[in-house]
Amino acid sequence: MNHHIPPPRPTPESAEGAFAADVPPVETLRPVAHLEIKAAALLLFSLLLIVGSGLYLLYARGAFEPTQTLVLTADDSEGVVVGMDMTFSGFPIGRVRRIELAETGNARIIVDVPRKDAHWLRQSSVFTLVRGIVGGTNIRAYSGMLSDDPLPDGAVRPVLRGDATAEIPQLMASARELLSNLNALTAEDAALGSSLNNVRALTERINGPQGMLGVLTGNEADARKIMATLERTNALLARLDGMATRADRQVFGADGTKDALVPEVRAAVAQLNALLADTRTSLKKVDAVLVEAQAVGANAREATTDLGALRAEVESNLRKVESLVNEINRKWPFARDTEIKLP
């Protein structure tokens, strides 16, 4: 079956030369100008293409970039794949290099962070693992304080899980409860239905002949009473108005009338003024009389002084008379009874 391969003893050149003489060429081989150069150029082009693609791939895989390692520990690494990005503010700053199971049973996600992007990660940075409903899982980094110390190489940080799909059952249960409540609310014999019926009856009564008053009083008789009360109040108010008008007229008087109270009071006051002026004149006269009385008083005081002297003189004269009487009595004893009897 393989009889066609003899041992390749002769060199190809000799073989080619030999059959060039013996065997006529099957097809005409047109010579290609600068064949070797063109072939070499083609080879070089192909080689450059492949090597260039390989280098670009290495660059894209981050082979030429110095990186530092960050280890994230999670209780579940579901959805995390090697090669996925870690983002910071939506920009990829790291790439998952390996996922391994630690001895404690946690998942260790080893992330390569290029050194030029490592300054976004600080000691206080927080890492989250978020799994969306559509699309893949995302690892996100948040740095609240960019003034904090930078994260060292090989740092181990826990990653917080935020799972959107985990809340779906709870959400469904809540939604089901809500829907059953809504069903109960909107059922034929539910409270909401009867309330709405009452509201409808109420609005019908409001729109009726008795209106809002009928709704408030509850029956027609009371509503009529209130209406009658209102009418009587109106009449009373009209009478009060008339009374006020009359009182006004009596107190202030209409123009041209003389029987009003206020003009009379005004006239009385004017008369009182005149009376007061007269009184003032009288008082001045009394004042003059008093001055004169004062003068009289002074004269009387002077007279009183003179009276004192007179009295002293009278007293001395009386003593002289008494002593004279005594003298006479001693010399002429008229008196039989010498005892003096007191009354």
Binding site: H4, P8, R9, E13, A15, V23, V26, S46, L49, L57
Partner: protein, 266 residues
């Protein structure tokens, strides 16, 4: 597949078919091994062979390079547009570029390049070998003590492999550039994220599968038509061995594609 010749019983027909099938595949494998050995041996690159090799390399690759690149660019542009617009309407535009790269660069272009080179170069080369064999040239070479595989077949196989790899590489680069331009337009703002996404798609395993697939595609399209042309089918009842070679080539391409898909996505 089973020969329907009168006068032969069913077991004989089955035996004939299995034998022919086994022989054909064995010849392909054997020729592959021989070519591999010859490619590695320095004596294969003597002056005369080198000239024939350069001629085949140039004539098999250069004329089709531009045409195929334009074709690949057109396909890339249309597919990129379709995928991006569809992804945008579903709100999944962030996955559009990745999908374009996976579909175009990883799957479509290597296969298209292999089929294009097969149609344009290696199947006609296989026909040439058949004609040389039928014209007695290979026999003459053999009589002169020369190796027809080394003289006539090796340059064509190497040229086929080279053309397939070059076309695939160039078209992939063109497709990558056009996908970028189709999504980001004529600016370099999206280049960092594009590069990052490219790096994420081409993981080491995907890259290895891609490289192996391209190499095996090129080997399949270069070797199988030559093996079919080099050997008579040995059965006068089935004269068109070229068509059998073609069917085998497509089967191999399909198998490689399936295996690459399994390697990538399972």
């Amino acid at each position: 597949m089973i020969s329907r010749l009168p006068g032969l019983s069913l077991p004989e027909r089955v035996w004939n078919t299995v034998r022919r099938w086994a022989i054909a595949w064995w010849r392909i494998l054997y020729l592959g091994a021989v070519v591999f050995v010859l490619v590695l041996s320095p004596s294969s690159y003597g002056r005369g062979t080198r000239r024939a090799l350069a001629r085949h390399l140039y004539l098999d690759t250069a004329p089709v390079l531009l045409g195929f690149t334009v074709l690949a660019a057109l396909i890339s542009l249309v597919l990129t547009r379709i995928v991006v617009v569809t992804a945008l309407s579903y709100g999944l535009s962030r996955y559009a570029l990745e999908m374009v790269i996976r579909v175009l660069v990883l799957e479509l272009i290597p296969l298209t390049a292999a089929l294009f080179v097969a149609m344009r170069c290696t199947i006609p080369n296989g026909t040439q070998i058949t004609r040389l064999r039928e014209g007695g040239r290979l026999e003459a070479l053999r009589r002169q003590g020369s190796d027809p595989v080394r003289i006539e077949l090796l340059p064509r196989v190497i040229a086929g492999v080279f053309a397939c790899i070059t076309l695939a590489a160039l078209s992939c680069v063109v497709a990558l550039v056009l996908a970028y331009l189709g999504v980001y337009g004529f600016n370099v703002a999206g280049l960092p994220s594009y590069t990052r996404m490219f790096g994420q798609v081409f993981t080491p395993s995907v890259t290895m599968v891609f490289v192996l697939k391209t190499v095996f595609f090129s080997l399949a399209i270069a070797l199988i038509p030559m093996a079919a042309g080099l050997h008579d089918s040995g059965d006068r009842t089935q004269p068109d061995s070229e068509l059998g070679g073609l069917a085998r080539m497509f089967a191999v391409l399909l198998m490689i594609e399936v295996m690459s898909l399994m390697g990538n996505y399972y």
